[in-house]
Chain length 144, copies 2
């Protein structure tokens, strides 16, 4: 079990906000799976486990999770966002087919060097990145 809860508590404290059991329940559920998630799916997972958390509570928590660096937007598909938790997990990128929408994951280290350069050049505190490569998958490239 990671200490994402600790990271979140620290973040909340620094911001002068308040933590709640609902928020910790949501975070635990997010990190309980290795997969991407979306709000509706997360809500249903919680419901299945008899946790009474409302959707607005999830929606209201997400900006904090993004800002704290615990999660990031993975992609926007089927009309809603899909997120992935990034804290304590190996980074991966996406290879997407422009025709059928299929998404493949792959690992990439090359961009880390770039992060350092950018941090210096623009005086940013760089915390992560998202790389999406697109094109046509083996099936779709034949037809196109």
């Amino acid at each position: 079990m990671g200490n994402e809860i600790e990271v979140f508590r620290e973040f909340i404290r620094k911001k002068g906000l308040r933590n709640t059991p609902e928020r910790e329940t949501i975070i635990k559920e997010i990190f309980a799976s290795h997969d991407h998630f979306d709000v509706d799916e997360l809500y249903l997972r919680l419901k299945t486990k008899k946790k009474k958390i409302s959707k607005p509570s999830i929606y209201r928590l997400i900006p904090h999770l993004l800002e704290s660096g615990l999660i990031q937007e993975a992609y926007h598909e089927d009309g809603h966002f899909h997120y992935e938790h990034i804290y304590g997990h190996e980074h991966h990128c996406h290879l997407r087919c422009l025709k059928c929408g299929k998404v493949l994951e792959f690992k990439e280290q090359r961009v880390e060097k770039l992060e350092g350069k950018l941090a210096e050049k623009y005086d940013y505190l760089v915390t992560g990145h998202k790389l999406e490569v697109f094109g046509y998958c083996p099936t779709c490239k034949v037809i196109t």
Copy 2:
């Protein structure tokens, strides 16, 4: 003036679809500006120029523009997508502040090599990529 119109005509022809003056008007307007655009803003730009194009026509055209590689999603913000035209323009990536949401653009060539490797490894026809680096801007990193 680029030949994005030609590229689109070719794409439409290959797919056995039909081209229309509305579509070409939209494409010309997209490429008339160097900036990102979103559907509403594009619609208003067209309206200002007395072009009677409906929003659904724009929405229905976008998947084709994506698939043809003329445009790509730049980011999803303020509840809607922002697109950028990529055909015939130098590629750029985004550096985004997690706190204030500010977006900076920068150039990057390093990822092109990776594209080749991925194309080979997964048998994809790779046409482009989108790289977003995030963190805190000079102002926000002080406060956080």
